[in-house]
Amino acid sequence: MKILGILNFEPNSVRVTGIEDYRPVSSASFLGRYRVLDFMISNLTNSGISDIELYIKDRPRSAVEHVSGTKYNFNSKKGRILMLTGEKTYTNPIYNTDLAAFEANHHFISSASADLVVLAPTHFIFTQDFQEMIKAHQESGNDVTVLYHSVNNADKRFALCNVLKIDENGRVTDLSLNTGKYKHRNVSLETYVMSYKLFLQLIERGSRTSSLYWFHDVLSDSLEDLKVGTYSHKGYVACLNNLPAFHEANLQLAKEENMAKVISPDWPIFTLTHDTCPTIYEETAQVTDSSVGNGCRIAGTVIESMIGRDCRVGKGSVIKNCVLLPGSSVGEGVYIENAVIDRYANISMQKDLRGTAEDPLYVRKSDHI
């Protein structure tokens, strides 16, 4: 059975303030040494799927540089990761939908001639063995199987994600957007298994219906004439659709017990190595409840934070609930709480920076403050 893995780009409702001024969230640095999309690509290759199309919404430089250099652990002669963008230029970004990108790259999709398609997002973090999901899909007789997670914080997170109404047979009866009104929702993880033939049909049907349609729109339209079933996801899940969610997911996963849920020797996450040396903890360093990438020099205090590769934390500084993206540095005697510091930024003059968990402070890439 030939499986085509398609990694979709994020919907227009995703707004990761600051971070996305430089790259789509899928190619942002995540958890010290990774890019967000490493998690979903590794999910595919760990599931034995190595025929992959990766869709990038815009500004592909960051993703191209990273993905082309990374060994995602498959036979590179037999498998491949094809990076694709929408080929058209858009006067208005609302036309830049996944269906438009699939249409524009119709040649690549139609020449793949697979049996099954796994369509998955790149702005989510979760672990899923797609072979298990495919097995359940085939046993169920579903036309489409949607991966979902029953969450109890839909009022705070997963804003404008798809939420599902599921009947007693596990069939999707309604697909709508999460308005944040309720805590308990079945959030779609925007991951679908379907036959390759049906996937092609749905692209065509969707594009014919509306130029503004996304894949989930055409799926929503088809709930009555297709058997759209569900597969429940267990374990850690985060949707990186805004800055607080990006900040929170980094801090959650910086804790070893959570990190082990998404990265383990049995389920490695592959990424590009930068050959940085280990990290030095100086005499004055104090690091607790945190995670630190390689190549750092830590002389200050780090509490419940995620410190990326090649960062510096000077003597007397306190970093609390912060995400330092790779290459950023903090001078001496600086206090920072609840902030996301973008790459190569340097904070040494400003001695006190504070955001809140729900409104983290963002320091721009390469800023000196």
Binding site: A254, M259, E283
Partner: protein
């Protein structure tokens, strides 16, 4: 071959018997170092950073891990057109038996066919078990400028330690006039670093002649260099300044690891212009628990610290449980240190489990304790 017409040959066949259990199953150059590296990464990365892209590696003792590791030439970016890493084990040849390598010179003499095929102007001979960063391009430039037949890299060592090294006695222009292996009364403190650049044609002739000598030990230091000197060939010393360490003993391996923490040490692996490349283990960043403390330490990815780490180096995948104390210790890969365990002045081998509460090593001990499975079992019996 690269544009400088120089091929490197790394001598990586020795056992390193003074590392005891560490080299029981792997050759010394494949022993791990500095958190995430293997010792041979230094010679290979120096080659890569010096534009030497064709590297032969003479292997012999317990060579399986070493050979399969270095064969991944893309790790050092050496997988260029015409370049690459060539693993050179002893082999059976037509018309002769199975000849093991009998000395450093013999290891190269047996691979003259490899060199003939590459047709280099210069051959760079290196050891696979030294920790240093060096730009071989500069050494080659000096070699060419001095019109020497061979150039030997030397480093100044303290006079009182000079009798432990091969010492080069030079004239005022750094031309080598005499070579003394471990002289009891050294005349100079210029120690050979085991790094040579030879003009290939001359070297080829001398190696073949040496093969015919019955009483030769077929060693560069003992036989080839003296033969060059005897014939009045021009041997030039190339003075190297910087960090260089032969990690031949448990103590020197431990020390070299500790040098990574020491601010005074010149071994800086942070330099983005001269990275040391290695195999990435695909492990996540290091994590620290609520009660963790790590000071004056060098810790790599894949580690988890819940206890106290002071003046120590932790290699990939090592965990330090709550209440455990690790001091002045090098902990190699994937070691689990149990709750309340105490380690002082140890070098802990790969993949071991230190049971809860076990105490190993002594901070006042003269020698570093090499912790193997056997040492843990014995300590377990005693501490019961």
């Amino acid at each position: 071959m690269s544009r400088n017409n120089m091929v490197a040959l790394i001598l990586a066949g020795g056992r390193g018997s003074r590392l005891f259990d560490l080299t029981k199953k792997i050759a010394k150059p494949a022993v791990h170092f500095g958190g995430k590296y293997r010792i041979i990464d230094f010679a290979l990365s120096n080659c890569a950073n010096s534009d030497v892209d064709t590297v032969g590696i003479a292997v012999q003792y317990e060579s399986i891990q070493l050979s399969s590791y270095v064969a991944h030439d893309q790790l050092w970016g050496l997988n260029t057109a015409g370049g690459g890493v060539y693993v050179l084990p002893p082999r059976e040849k037509e018309g002769s038996g199975f000849d093991i390598y009998e000395g450093t010179a013999n290891a190269i003499a047996q691979n003259l066919d490899f060199l003939d095929q590459e047709k280099p102007d210069y051959v760079l001979v290196l050891s696979g078990d030294h920790i240093y960063k060096m730009d071989y391009r500069e050494m080659l430039q000096k070699h060419v400028e001095s019109k020497a037949d061979a150039t030997i890299a030397v480093i100044e060592v303290p006079m009182k330690e000079a009798s432990r090294f091969g010492i080069m006695n030079c004239d005022e222009e750094d031309r080598i006039v005499e070579f003394e292996e471990k002289p009891p009364v050294p005349k100079s403190n210029l120690a050979s670093m085991g790094i040579y650049i030879f003009n290939y044609k001359t070297m080829r002739k001398y190696l073949l002649e040496d093969e015919k000598k019955e009483n030769s030990s077929h060693d560069f230091g003992k036989d080839i260099i003296p033969a060059y000197l005897h014939d009045g060939k021009k041997l030039q010393a190339y003075r190297f300044k910087g960090y260089w360490k032969d990690v031949g003993t448990v103590d020197s391996l431990w020390e070299a690891n500790m040098d990574l923490i020491d601010d005074e040490s010149e071994l800086d692996l942070f330099d983005p212009e001269w990275k040391i490349y290695t195999d990435d283990t695909m492990t996540p960043p290091a994590t620290f628990g609520k009660k963790a403390s790590a000071k004056k330490s060098y810790i790599t990815q894949g580690c988890h610290v819940d206890g106290t780490v002071y003046h120590s180096v932790l290699f990939t995948g090592t965990t330090v449980s709550e209440g455990a104390e690790v001091r002045d210790t090098v902990v190699m890969n994937n070691v689990k240190i149990g709750k309340g365990a105490r380690l002082n002045r140890c070098l802990v081998m790969d993949d071991l489990v230190i049971p809860d509460g076990m105490e190993l090593g002594d901070k006042n001990a003269e020698k570093v304790l090499l912790v193997s499975k056997k040492v843990i079992d014995e300590a377990g019996r005693k501490q019961k």
